[in-house]
Symmetry: none
Subunit: 282 residues, 2 copies
């Protein structure tokens, strides 16, 4: 989608001249959108047709169309998006890159979420007798966080990161119970089974996972915050941040639905923590 990212990603597959153009473009994309093909060619010290070919290679109709894409990429909030961490990066560099790519992925997740589904999920959650949050690995962290949030609402909340406990808990679920399952891949076998068991026992199952995955198929409601895969370091990064933001959204929807009296209750929970803290002296 984002053409600057695309150039960065495909840089290695470019020919010598194409790289020259790419370098000039990446160096100052904002200048390029106001340049003619002739001036860009001159800057990159290659011919005009090469620039044109470069544009077509990136699936644009030609140079003017390419500039349009470039302009849009630049406008897209975060300019230098999703740059990959490099072996020799300084702390300064990888810090910036990780923040930028996290932000870019949140943008992406925001666009991918279906607010109708969020609305339905909030409906279901507000009417639940009991809410269970399950996940494994990195997604267990998200479930843990959800528990921490929803626990404050004075609703029966369950959280397990142990497969057996998740299964046992689902077997005991009944109508009126809601089970929320977190899984980035949507292919974790034990979790798919938990979803199945929960549905057999009349619980409503909400999946925070990719659409069109085995897990998604077992769910009543699917929420898919899509991010560009976190391949960088073989660790889930952006995906769980997106999931956590979704938890915030569900929790917010929940409190809004419950009305203002209910929010006083939240304040009480927070205030109850005060005695365990050192006072602020200001």
């Amino acid at each position: 989608m984002n053409i600057i990212e695309k150039i960065t990603n495909e840089f290695d597959t470019f020919s010598k001249s194409e790289r020259k153009v790419a370098e000039v473009i990446l160096a100052s994309p904002a200048t390029v959108i106001h340049a003619s093909i002739a001036s860009l060619a001159k800057q990159a010290k290659i011919s005009e047709p090469t620039v044109n070919r470069f544009c077509r290679r990136l699936d644009t109709k030609g140079y003017p169309d390419f500039k349009l894409h470039l302009a849009q990429s630049l406008a897209n909030g975060t300019p230098y998006v999703n740059r990959h961490v490099d072996e020799n990066d300084t702390a300064e560099e990888y810090t910036t890159k990780i923040f930028e790519s996290t932000i870019a992925n949140l943008e992406m997740a925001r666009k991918s979420l279906d607010t109708n589904m969020i609305n339905r999920a909030v409906d279901v959650l507000t009417q639940a007798n009991k809410i269970s949050f399950f996940g494994l690995g990195a997604s267990a962290v998200v479930a843990h966080d959800a528990q921490n949030k929803f626990f404050r609402f004075n609703v029966p909340v369950i959280y397990f990161d142990d497969v057996l406990m998740q299964r046992m808990s689902s077997i005991n679920s009944t109508q009126g119970d809601v089970v929320v399952l977190f899984s980035h891949t949507g292919r974790t076998k034990p979790l798919v089974e938990v979803a199945h068991i929960a549905r057999e026992n009349d619980a409503i199952v909400i999946g925070v996972t990719d659409a069109n995955t085995p897990l998604a198929k077992e769910c009543n409601i699917v929420l898919s915050p899509t991010v560009s895969e976190d391949t960088d370091l073989y660790m889930p990064m952006a995906s769980r941040i997106a999931q956590l933001t979704l938890v915030d959204i569900l929790a917010t929807g929940f409190t809004l639905r419950r009305g203002s009296k209910f929010r006083d209750n939240l304040k009480k929970v927070k205030d109850s923590l005060r005695s365990s803290r050192f006072e602020r002296k200001e």
Copy 2:
């Protein structure tokens, strides 16, 4: 700035023909950015120079430049602000607001972090014999996540969200051990005590918390991702997302420091999960 808004605002001051162009553009701006001046003129049933004059009237250099502005306006989905969730917001509205404020807070956190401190923290972590991650409440979630990440590095990692276990664990720490404490407020008494105990036993203590707090004072290294307080709904939201991003950064720094051979190891850990998943059929 935004040219679509500008057209809407100045619509009343346009001449008859200019309004025709404006109408066509506003009806489907996305189409216009791919149209030539000729085709736009034809659609609006006016002449080409009139289109050109229209563009100049809006302070652009000409038609191509106008299209560039238009393209950017279209892409500009997110004006970054920290808008607060309102009682009567729709799902659409509060979803957008939460994403926007999360993003804005990440920007803020990025600026507030001291990369020298990050570098020192990474130094310390790479040399640790044993790493402990402790937190309470919402920060327990962050500690949990850190465990999940660092565990993959084949380093002894400890995580507890139970105060007593945290204390016992700290009492047993020795030189070469690193204790990482997460706390948004930096005023949680039990955690400050844990920090104190750990230091008395020669462990290095890294605090992910606000500077100038009781906890910060007990730490060898302090990392403070500052966010605007999450007062909205009496729940930690942005703060923990910022802390999690910091965990990503530390983990990334760790793997970079350990070199490329080490990264193969990570891949192995990830691959080992494969058998527990449903295959992708593509």
